[in-house]
Amino acid sequence: MKRLSLFCGHFGSGKTNVAIHFAERMAAQGLPVTIADLDIVNPYFRTKDSEDALAAKGIEVVTLPFANTNVDLPALPKFVYTLFTDRSRQAVLDIGGDDRGALVLGRFVPFIKEEGSFELYYVVNFYRYLTRTPDEALQVLREIEAACGLPFTAVINNSNLGRETTVQTVLDTEKKAADLCVLTGLPLAGTAIREDLAEQVRKSGLCGTVIPLTLQKGV
């Protein structure tokens, strides 16, 4: 397993939920894990929403003191460099949406490349209006790569319609995800689905790994 797991994607594609799942899975395996909120784009729906639940599982959360306050400050947490200097821990990095959000990675790229142990996951929801097709999703993917200076290493299909998601909702995007993987040459790391539907999706014969998500606190 790579030490650094980075999650980027289109704005609102579900990066935070997926990143938290990965951190929880690593913690469940007994690994020391830190999750970092590096979202400088959106002051709402932050990793901090789940801080207490994550802490209870022994996951260290690096976040801003201003998250979820009235201060809308595009700043980074002060302990952010420990993610790269302390190589004894797994680090999960939740990055802001689109190329704008991915810009934040630029200053860390030399550290990431020097260590050479990272996965950069592209989280995609084909029900988001600006990533409806593999071609549109590819365009956003390339914009993010150009902004952050790192190549993606895998795709995570997180296609959903919020509370209206059904098993079919997810299955209908299987081909799009496969096409995106062909277009990019990237492997599909998995298909994410709300945990109560995960078993049904597994039984449906969907290709690849099913990632059962616990939805974080929202509106």
Binding site: F11, G12, F45, N70, R128, Y129, R132, L161, G162, V219
Partner: protein
């Protein structure tokens, strides 16, 4: 209805505006509406439209004024402090009888306030805001789907009555994501013979202006404008009624407050309490007749607002003396269903 997509409220406004034929957007970033501008920045170039981040809100609204004069569909958006800055321009647009759409995704105030949702710009939206005798058509979406539908309606009504229309949303509806069907919404564009498009020698040139040197003519223009406002009141007042047929207590709430109130009504009905909900969809024109009709059979009205109590004044004007109380949270806080349930029960017991 077309295929569904998962959108933020702010994105739904932006995409609906594009579907409605809006090809000009001028704005300036401010939380919690910035996604709207960001979406326009990505989308407008792809549909041959113009996105421009202006140097200020004041500049943006005056760009809107300019494009509106050419008869093209045009929009700006901001959040509370930014909408305050736009007021002079809005007054000019109203004074020049031009259609345009202004979006306010409200946040807590006054002053810099905070970035959490609010409804405390109700007075500003419905009672003027800028100087002079004028109104805006003010639409209040309560879901992401309505963000889209009421955006298209705002463009249609603005064109139909030659006046600016405002979408009065809040930070919650702007930020939340819901499935939305956006492509089945049909806009209704109209001919605009008054538009400044160059005469090409075919007719005398049109003039767009809000300056009248003759005070009698200015008075005449104001009277004519208010005759049009009366037509808007007659034809375009919109409200949703929920469980109102036999209600003893009528909750009145719009936007996010109405969603919470609807849950409270359902819970109260399950307990046998006869509560109902009136949800104004237009707050100007305010649904006075709906309130007046309810006043014939309810014991009390409860205005649920994310403010210190603003809409309650309009309810009281229409309620003909029926008891009207306030249930509120302010500064970016949202009332809970429990708070509303408690307030309704207190009114029931009197």
């Amino acid at each position: 209805m077309g295929e569904k997509f998962l959108m933020k409220g702010n994105e739904a406004i932006a995409e609906a505006a594009i579907q409605a034929g809006c090809r000009f957007y001028f704005g300036y970033p401010i939380t919690p509406q910035t996604e709207l501008a960001a979406y326009m920045a990505k989308r407008m170039p792809k549909v041959g439209g113009t996105f421009l981040q202006a140097e200020s809100e004041v500049a943006a609204i005056n760009m809107v004024y300019g494009v509106a004069g050419t008869g093209k569909r045009v929009m700006t958006s901001s959040s509370s402090p930014g909408v305050s800055l736009k007021q002079e321009g809005i007054s000019y647009i109203a004074g020049a009888d031009l259609p345009a759409v202004i979006v306010n995704v409200q946040r807590g105030g006054p002053g810099l306030g905070g970035i959490q949702p609010s409804q405390s710009d109700y007075f500003q939206a419905t009672k003027g805001g800028g100087h002079g005798d004028y109104h805006l058509i003010v639409l209040t979406p309560a879901s992401v789907q309505e963000m889209a539908e009421l955006t298209v309606l705002a463009f249609d009504l603005a064109d139909k009555y030659r006046m600016p229309a405002m979408l009065l949303a809040d930070g919650t509806i702007g930020q939340m994501m819901e499935p939305v069907s956006i492509e089945g919404i049909t806009p209704h564009p109209v001919e605009k013979p008054w538009a400044v498009t160059g005469t090409e020698g075919r007719r005398p040139h049109n003039i767009i202006n809000s300056l009248y040197l003759d005070p009698e003519e200015l008075e005449r223009m104001n009277i004519e404008r208010f005759a049009r406002y009366r037509k808007v009141e007659e034809n375009e007042t919109r409200a949703e009624e929920y469980c109102m047929e036999d209600a003893d207590v009528a909750i009145v709430a719009f936007g996010i407050a109405a969603r919470v109130a609807k849950n409270a009504v359902a819970a109260l009905r399950a307990e046998g309490v006869k509560a109902g909900l009136i949800r104004p969809i237009t707050v100007w024109p305010f649904p006075k007749k709906v309130i007046a009709n309810a006043a014939k059979h309810v014991k009390a009205f409860l205005s649920v607002e994310l403010s210190m109590g603003q809409m309650i004044e309009d309810i009281r004007l229409a309620a003909g003396g029926v008891r009207t109380e306030l249930c509120f949270r302010a500064g970016g806080m949202i009332p809970s269903p429990e708070q509303i349930i408690k307030a309704v029960k207190a009114l029931e017991e009197v």
